[in-house]
């Protein structure tokens, strides 16, 4: 049965042609995509289990776990969902965006295997070291802020995981290299280009991780006597935030890919979309500085320059993609006569297909909830009111869950149908899964933001309803916690639905001919007119609504800040 999952009708040269995308797919590349993807789903399940425990603890009506267990499970939650689920998926995305899109063999498959094994072993090592945390070590959470010590095995496993990821990325770079040698004058397809930018950002982040974790490991085992907290924060955030920028770039790349193959989107301007990726390359890395806005030891000019120069170069890029991707869908569909009215192109889209709905919801929710809040908390002074509150947790649930996780869920559904060629089981449930999951997750996320901003609820606390030794507590926030708790549990039900449908389809799904579900890309023929001359007024309307919400949220946050006491 396992073997059956890794078979497909390859020709004698080891290639097959995908009936949906038209891509020439190499057997080795496809099998690695499947292996990395399946491992990612295992990490997602692990993270989901921990999510149940975390939610039921923070919702203090239940108050499930004692503090020490809570922090361990919170760490498991963070590492499996923010790192392992994402990074395993991202390696799979690199192999799709490189060898598959280019129609090449996966170069150096042995390196891919070595990378995979190192990543797997170290991911297990990190989980194990977290679960067995004992004094004086503390749960690392995501950040393992030195000089608070965590298990030495944790740091060592983190180093190995980073090395494994770099090794796993090498076959991708080799494929791009071979392509450029063979066709020096041919531009990479946009998806391959996006994957290439993602991979460069990834290597930057991973190198930052080595600079952070190697000295920290040496400090933990006693080779170095002192570790400076401010130094650690600077170095850590190269990977801490950098890894999330990998998620962003990978997600945007997948948006271009899936809106095209599922919805018939085209690229309205290669120049604009590629320039936006280039902006990411140059500007997004320093956006990590927004974690240091409430720090001592850094000058205001450092803070303003690094968040502004960097963040706004990258914000601009995201705003460009925010137009280009829906515009691609709109123009591509209009060109083929799908919808004449302002939003007809959107209503007529394949909403019953969970791949499509997952992608569209992730674009909308990432932009409105994740993107806007990211800019707000990245403004130096506004950060005072956001720093380390639960609202920051809300922000990254909007980006990483509503954005990246939703997108990757859509991609997993796509891969199950096109690469494993299995029909999704429980079709009606599969159809509503993106609606259910993103709806309740968005509500839970919104509650985290409200609880953080309106009640100042701190993040990383097992209990805020009772602070020993004082009458003060955060009891006033209890009603919102009720909404949070229920919404979060329902979102987890949506997550269970995803895992159940995915695993169930692989094991019990009927054999499927993918082009019966997805319209083959070759059949998307239009009236032959240029795509940039199509109307994009629907998209323009959406982006204006987006801007209005952005401006209102922005003004509101400055107003709230202005009501605080004087500082500085």
């Amino acid at each position: 049965m396992i073997k059956e999952l890794f078979t497909n009708d390859y020709g004698p040269d080891g290639f097959r042609t995908c009936s949906v995308t038209g891509m020439r797919i190499d057997r080795t590349a496809e099998n690695f995509v499947k292996i990395f993807g399946l491992t990612a789903v295992v990490a997602l399940v692990m993270g989901g289990i921990s999510a149940i425990l975390v939610v039921l603890t923070r919702w203090e009506v239940v108050g499930l776990l004692p503090p020490d267990a809570f922090y361990n499970w919170l760490s498991v939650h963070a590492w499996n969902l923010l790192i392992f689920w994402m990074v395993f998926m991202e390696v799979a995305i690199l192999y799709v965006g490189g060898p598959m899109v280019l129609g090449r063999k996966l170069p150096a498959p042995k390196l891919a295997m070595v990378g995979y094994v190192l990543m797997l072993v170290s991911a297990i090592g990190i989980n194990w070291s977290i679960m067995t945390t004992s004094a004086p070590d503390q749960a690392p959470l995501l950040t393992s802020y030195a000089p608070l010590p965590s298990s030495e095995w944790f740091y060592l496993s983190a180093i190995v995981f980073i090395l494994g990821t770099v090794i796993a990325a090498l076959p991708f770079f080799a494929a791009i290299w071979q392509e450029k040698i063979e066709h020096p004058n041919r531009s990479l397809p946009l998806v391959a280009f996006g994957a290439f930018i993602t991979a460069i950002i990834a290597v930057e982040a991973l190198l930052g991780g080595l600079i952070t974790y190697i000295p920290t490991y040496m400090w933990r085992i006693g080779l170095i006597e002192h570790i400076d907290a401010a130094w650690y924060r600077q170095m850590y955030w190269i990977i801490g935030h950098g890894s999330q920028q990998i998620n962003l770039a990978a997600m945007v790349t997948v948006w271009y890919f899936l809106t095209h193959v599922v919805g018939g989107a085209e690229v309205v301007s290669e120049k604009v979309s590629r320039s936006a990726f280039i902006l990411y390359l140059f500007f997004i890395n320093m956006g990590a500085a927004h974690h240091l806005m409430a720090d001592p030891a850094l000058a205001a000019s450092w803070k303003v320059w690094n968040t502004s120069y960097a963040a706004y170069g990258a914000v601009l890029a995201s705003m460009i993609h925010a137009f280009a991707i829906p515009a691609g869908l709109e123009a591509g569909r209009r060109k083929r006569g799908a919808g004449k009215s302002l939003f007809g192109w959107l209503w007529s889209a394949p909403w019953g297909n969970p791949v499509f709905s997952a992608v569209i919801f992730s674009i909308i929710l990432f932009g409105f909830m994740g993107g806007i809040t990211g800019v707000l908390m990245g403004q130096m002074q506004l950060n005072l009111a956001w720093h380390n509150t639960w609202a920051t947790v809300g922000h990254f649930h909007a980006t990483v869950v509503l954005g990246t996780t939703m997108t990757f869920m859509g991609l997993v559904f796509f891969v199950i149908q096109t690469m494993f060629k299995k029909e999704l089981i429980m079709a009606p449930l599969a159809r509503i899964q993106p609606w259910f999951y993103s709806g309740f997750m968005a509500l839970a996320t919104l509650m985290m933001m409200y609880l953080g901003i309106l009640y100042g609820i701190p993040r990383r606390h097992a209990s805020v309803m009772d602070i020993p030794g004082t009458d003060f507590n955060f009891g006033a926030a209890e009603p919102l916690f009720v909404i949070f708790g229920i919404a979060a549990l329902l979102a987890i039900v949506g997550g269970i639905l995803f895992a159940g449908i995915s695993v169930g389809s692989l094991l019990f799904g009927k054999k499927l001919e993918p082009s019966s579900v997805f319209r083959p890309a070759a059949s998307w023929t239009g009236d032959g007119s240029a795509v940039h001359l199509q109307s994009m007024r629907g998209t323009f309307t959406f982006t204006l609504i987006f801007l209005a919400v952005f401006v209102i949220a922005y003004i509101l946050n400055w107003y709230l800040l202005s009501r605080l006491w004087e500082i500085g």
């Binding site: 922090y71 802020y145 690229v267 460009i320 720093h387 701190p458 605080l564």
Partner: protein, 179 residues
């Protein structure tokens, strides 16, 4: 068809760009410049800016500074009334040192902050309005001095909102701001 999974044909750099797309990019550029400018404008004219000098300090030096501050101040039932405008507070696992401090509303103080051991948070809010909250990061080895002026009297509660170990949610301190 301009597909994202095929190499673009011809010279794509000179291909046309939709008018609406160009308009949106212009709007975005202007908006990003406003975002940039507002931080600089607020740094000059706004009243909430986390600027202040940072000094390197050893833990034993800083413990001494907080002890001296407590000794020089007047101990009352409510807390320490500082001798001058300088206030020294510190976070340690799992309590704050130097608190509670009794302050005069409308008077500017120089608040010195540091940690005795690991990273902590200093998150402050008045009891009567939880939404008026502000958070700072405290690092061992660094003494951060920030001027603060509380206009509204009340009890301002301080909690640690950076994870510093299993007991960190028990950390509490307060500024008592009186007329």
């Amino acid at each position: 068809m301009s597909s994202p999974i095929h190499s673009p044909q011809g010279n794509w750099w000179i291909a046309g760009v939709s008018v609406l797309e160009k308009t949106w990019i212009r709007i975005s550029v202007v908006w990003c410049l406003i975002l940039f400018a507002s931080m600089i404008v607020w740094a000059s004219y706004g009243k909430q800016n986390q600027h202040g000098p940072t000094y390197r300090v050893s833990t034993s030096e800083y413990i001494q500074k907080v002890q001296d501050f407590k000794k020089a101040g007047t101990q009352t039932e409510e807390g320490i009334i500082p001798a001058d405008e300088h206030i020294y507070v510190a976070a340690a696992r799992f309590s704050f040192d130097g608190f509670p401090v009794v302050l005069k509303a409308g008077k500017q103080y120089q608040v010195h902050m540091s940690s005795y051991d690991v990273q902590h948070g200093l998150s402050i809010r008045p009891e009567h309005a939880l939404s008026k909250q502000m958070s700072l990061q405290l690092l061992p080895g660094y003494e951060w001095v920030l001027p603060m002026k509380f206009d509204e009297p009340g009890v301002y509660h301080v909690v640690c909102n950076e994870f510093c170990g299993v007991g960190h949610s028990t950390m509490h301190g307060s500024f008592i701001v009186q007329r």
